[in-house]
Amino acid sequence: MIPLIEAANVSKRFTGGLGREGTLALAGLSLAIHVEKPSIIAVVGESGSGKTTFARLLLGLAEPSGGEIRYHGVDLKRLDREAWRAFRHDVQAVFQDPYGVYNPFYRVDHVLATPLRRFRLAASRAQARELIREALRTVGLQPEEILGRFPHQLSGGQRQRVMVARALLLQPKLIVADEPVSMVDASLRATILGSLRQLTDEHGISILYITHDLATAYQLSDSILVLYRAQLVEAGAVERVVTAPHHPYTQLLVSAVPRADTTRDWLARDEPSRPNALAPTAAGCRFAERCPLAMPVCLAAPPSLYRIEPRRAVACVQYQDHPALPPGDPGEVLSG
């Protein structure tokens, strides 16, 4: 079965200009999104991990420096007009900033009506109106409270849900949601994430959830990819990866989330500033300089990805006794 969207060993290097080396934003990463079985895949990492770069590559907003993004098996660069239009329809985006995506001079209706017109999804104005009202209700908004208003008259949470409604209107097959809840209040976060889950469970839309927030990734997604400075470090079923992280970086990430319990050992577990005496190299594991378990071998070459369980792969030499996967390609570890 050919996946709807496939990232095949994609990498991105931002050039430094005038022969400077530039920054590697994403080292070869592979991911196939099959839509026969809709699911939510989280891509988690801190700033500089390459997660947003990966989202932009998948959306066709940036070109990979290596590897390719394929839509129905065809490289995005080689899509004809027709296929590009179909791609634009099948893959929708929800961005982080619910303030920046609106044109303040247009009523909210505009962002909902335009895509319907663009893709000729409604036969009449009346039908367009009905589709819009239905989409708004699906994400938990009252159409009467939203339509006819200007963006500044809505709250951040309402604006973000309108964006989810907009993505839903097009009945896409995949939504790439880049930090959709990082700018809304905790109380609204659950509602928006609930709307996203509903899109997958009830409307069969797959979601790629890009975030720095491990806890919401755990609550929302089925599987997870953890990136650290352009490299994939751990991937698999979210339940396994979050409750029993195996890569030292994933372990650090999980321990750094402050929890509402009264044990209060969070500050005491702060990371030591120099966990080992090794001098970092450009060639090796990117996490080596912060890793309490780092060995000289970690500096020689990037670690392979080892499949330590049917639904989990870890890029760390500690697990070299397990079968190795192609670098950056968790493959069926995610689909399982």
Partner: protein
């Protein structure tokens, strides 16, 4: 409790709005013990940052302090003139502002931004003494010496936030107000910054007011938590008690809205939206969103009452 270092009594802040007067902070009272870590939690628009600015007397028109008193180390802030207040800021009470990225001056080196504080407060030091103090402050917040010669854009988010802490503690205040100091940072960096704040706070024996909406962060950092809703404090209690047994339904909802890392499918939102301050519902401002609201909550505004270990403003508690 020993003599409080900061005492806030009946503080009110109003904003003039075309559609009438807006009460952003409504009759807020609390006291901080020296060295105490006090949390102030609530959704955006609940008035928590306005309360911080009111304590610092930094409210600007159309806002104004409409009532109440603030005492810092036994001195009534209202008795001080503009110059007196200015001297008190940094030296007595300091702010680590929200979004440190934007509060540093982009065209001045970090060292200069610290020494400006000395000069501003009439401490005209020699160059070597200035440099020595800057080095000591940077070391205190865990930054290398050469940061003094750098511009803000050369620093990472976590380093900028630490630089802001260095500025805030430069005159050894007895109260530090930290307004969402880590909201823009990654979790690992967040913990480093909070550990830094905890350390300098202990070194100075300063009290801290931590403003934020992350109950997890509050649970791990503060001694006592105040929950703010629509400009009022609705619950104040020691952190262990409030986490184990929240009394106000809003506090319960805030805690439930924190995504858990232990059990999936437990994430709950708070139904409805925070009310507009210029259009508050009658009775308890939380009643339209409260799962336990009774008839009385629609009519009568609950007063803050003392309960074992703290205060709560709810007819049910």
């Amino acid at each position: 409790m020993s003599e409080p270092i900061l005492r806030v009594e009946g503080l009110r802040v109003t904003f003039d709005h075309p559609q009438g007067l807006v009460q952003a902070v409504d009759d807020v009272s609390f006291a901080l013990a020296p060295g105490e870590r006090f949390g102030l939690a609530g959704e955006s628009g609940s008035g928590k940052s306005t309360l911080a600015l009111a304590i610092l007397r930094m409210i600007k028109p159309p806002g104004r302090i409409a009532g109440g008193e603030v005492w810092l180390a036994g001195r009534r802030m209202a008795d001080l003139d503009g110059e007196g207040i200015r001297t008190l800021r940094l030296a007595g009470i300091a702010l680590v502002p929200q979004g440190s990225m934007n509060s540093l001056n982009p065209v001045l080196r970090i060292g200069r931004q610290i020494t400006d504080a000395f000069a501003d407060h009439g401490q005209h030091l020699g160059r070597s003494e200035q440099e020595r103090r800057v080095r000591a402050l940077l070391a205190e917040v865990g930054l290398p010496e050469n940061v003094a010669r750098m511009y803000p854009h050369e620093l990472s988010g976590g380093m900028k936030q630490r630089a802001c802490i260095a500025v805030a503690i430069s005159l050894r205040p007895s109260v530090i107000i930290a307004d969402e100091p880590t909201s823009a940072l990654d979790v690992v960096v967040q913990r480093q910054v909070m550990a830094t704040l905890a350390r300098v706070q202990q070194d100075l024996a300063a009290a801290v007011i931590l403003i934020g909406h992350d109950i997890g962060l509050m649970a791990q950092f503060v001694d006592r938590l105040a929950v703010m809703y629509a400009g009022r404090l609705v619950e104040v209690a020691p952190i262990a008690e409030i986490i184990a047994q929240p009394r106000h339904p809003y506090t319960r909802a805030l805690i439930a809205a924190l995504p858990s890392l232990e059990r999936r499918g437990t994430l709950a939102g708070i139904p409805g939206l925070a009310p507009l301050l210029r259009d508050l519902p009658p009775g308890c401002a939380f009643h339209p969103r409260c799962p336990q609201a009774m008839d009385r909550c629609h009519i009568e505004k609950p007063m803050v009452r003392d309960v074992a270990g703290g205060q709560v403003a709810c007819h049910l508690a």
